[in-house]
């Protein structure tokens, strides 16, 4: 109940502290399949942006381009004032160090325990940390997602929801300025999905992150968004607050809200 109040409280106007991420005419094709077709949008610092769209609309490719996992065909992606499409590997890594990414499958390293998953990420970001400091960071991160008791378990021993939480802890341990959530509630039951939605809201308050959330889940979009953009055929079809999208008269946009 308490976390539900937090959610209501965070659903507010985005903090207008300037643009942190900007896509300018970004194109990406795989062979003849044009996935991104000149996409344009920006995200302000401290804002939670939800990207809605049907399968194949280019949502995942958009965020993969943002972190440099996929190279764009043309266009600019400005992050922290730098065009990441023109950065070399070192430059790209310096940007990536400020970004946390929760994958749809959580993408935990199978061969490592939960502790090792977190330590591995942490020690590659800050080689000067002592064992004790790392342990303290790991404990804090796991406490934040409520899974301290799973510290010595392997990913195969965790449920889908637990994996997502550990994935979140791993992303947050580097204290990112930008968080990217790829289908955070995908494949989860309603109750676990609601817990993840609560957690995203808590993260925004605690870590003051700017977030991009890719989702099909309208509950997640409703509670976690400051603004929503809807993608269709690799371009932004419409954007606005959840209530604006909900009241949109366009038949295609309305189809998201039909049961």
């Amino acid at each position: 109940m308490q976390t539900r109040e937090i959610i209501q409280d965070t659903h507010r106007e985005p903090a207008a502290e300037g643009v942190l991420i900007e896509f300018k005419d970004v194109y990406k094709s795989y062979g003849d399949n044009k996935v991104l077709n000149g996409i344009n949008f920006s995200i302000n610092k401290g804002e939670n942006l939800v990207i809605l769209g049907k399968s194949g609309s280019g949502k995942s490719v958009t965020v993969k381009c943002l972190v440099g996992l996929t190279k764009v065909d043309s266009g600019e992606i400005i992050v922290f004032g730098k065009d990441i499409t023109k950065l070399n590997e070192d430059g790209l890594n310096s940007v990536r160090m400020k970004i946390g990414f929760l994958f749809q499958s959580a993408a935990l390293y199978d061969s490592m325990t939960v502790r090792q998953n977190l330590v591995f990420t942490l020690q590659h970001h800050n080689k000067k940390l002592t064992e004790a400091q790392m342990e303290s960071y790991v404990m804090d991160a796991l406490k934040n997602v409520g899974l301290l008791e799973s510290i010595d378990k392997f990913p195969a021993e965790l449920s889908g929801g637990m994996k997502k939480r550990i994935g979140l802890a791993r992303a947050l341990i580097i204290q990112p300025e930008i968080m990217i959530y790829d289908e955070p509630t995908g494949g989860l039951d309603t109750i676990t999905a609601r817990e993840i939605i609560d957690l995203i809201s808590e993260i925004k308050i605690k870590y003051k992150t700017t977030s991009i959330i890719i989702t099909h889940d309208l509950t997640c979009a409703k509670y976690n968004s400051d603004r929503i953009i809807v993608l269709k055929d690799g371009v932004v079809k419409t954007e606005g607050h959840f209530r604006d999208i909900e009241n949109n008269t366009d038949e295609w946009v309305r189809s998201f809200f039909e049961k």
Partner: protein
């Protein structure tokens, strides 16, 4: 037929490009030493039982099979020299490398393929960790270093197998056997055979990693990566062996 040939050349080109990246990355600072040691343990120590059994059988069978032919020429006393030379120059390096291609290369293909399709490699990249350095450099370095050691070990076990083979028929003196074996060995028998095992090791590692790293699609691609890794690594072992034999013939 034409498209198969084209695909084969494309595969060779891709593996060559993947290997060139190895030499570019290895000299950059930040070697993942802990992971390298872990891989050396996995590749070297964990292969010991398999290499012990196959090495022993190689020596034993070679001795038993060659006895009738050698007896016809009254050359039974040459069996220790023949067995040791055959093992050290050709049989132990190739058989050990093939066994390791089956065990290690397929394992790497499957492990990295699984990491690829479950986005674990992407997760490393997004976390600013170079997956090539962490996964490929360490594994390929481990196989390059461990395969020659395993081959030396297989040589020794194979020679012991040869002694058992001789003892079964005519009884034997271990000291006399080893004295005959080492008397027949020359510097040029050991050096070329050792050099080629480093190449075997390198290609076992790099091909396993290449197949895993380039797995795409669903879980079916993991099995395909493991299978392709064994086939390509085994083929590369025979090709390297053929080149090594030609070069040895020229220079030694």
């Amino acid at each position: 037929m034409e498209s198969d040939l084209k695909n084969s050349f494309l595969l060779i080109g891709s593996i060559a490009s993947f290997s060139v990246r190895f030499f570019r990355e290895i000299f950059k600072p930040g070697f993942e030493f802990k992971e390298f040691i872990r891989q050396c343990f996995a590749v070297g120590y964990r292969s010991l039982p398999l290499v012990t059994i196959t090495g022993f059988i190689m020596g034993l069978v070679l001795t038993i099979q060659s006895r009738p032919a050698m007896s016809k020429f009254g050359a039974e006393s040459w069996i220790p020299s023949m067995v040791s030379l055959s093992l050290i120059r050709e049989i132990a390096p190739v058989i050990t490398a093939l066994i390791c291609a089956g065990r290690i290369s397929s394992g790497m293909g499957a492990e990295l393929g699984s990491m690829k399709v479950t986005e674990q490699i992407d997760a490393m990249e997004v976390a600013a960790i170079n997956p090539y350095r962490y996964l490929v450099i360490t594994r390929t370095m481990a196989t390059t270093l461990m395969i020659p050691i395993l081959v030396f070990y297989a040589d020794l076990i194979g020679i012991m197998g040869g002694f058992v083979g001789i003892s079964m028929h005519s009884g034997g003196n271990l000291q006399h056997y080893f004295s005959t074996v080492f008397d027949s060995l020359e510097y040029e028998d050991i050096l070329p055979a050792t050099i080629k095992t480093f190449f075997f090791g390198f290609f076992i590692g790099i091909i396993g990693c290449y197949e895993g790293f380039n797995a795409s699609g669903g879980t079916a691609s993991v099995g395909k990566a493991a299978n392709s890794a064994v086939v390509s690594a085994s083929l590369s072992i025979f090709i390297i062996d053929m080149i090594a034999v030609q070069l040895t013939d020229l220079f030694f």
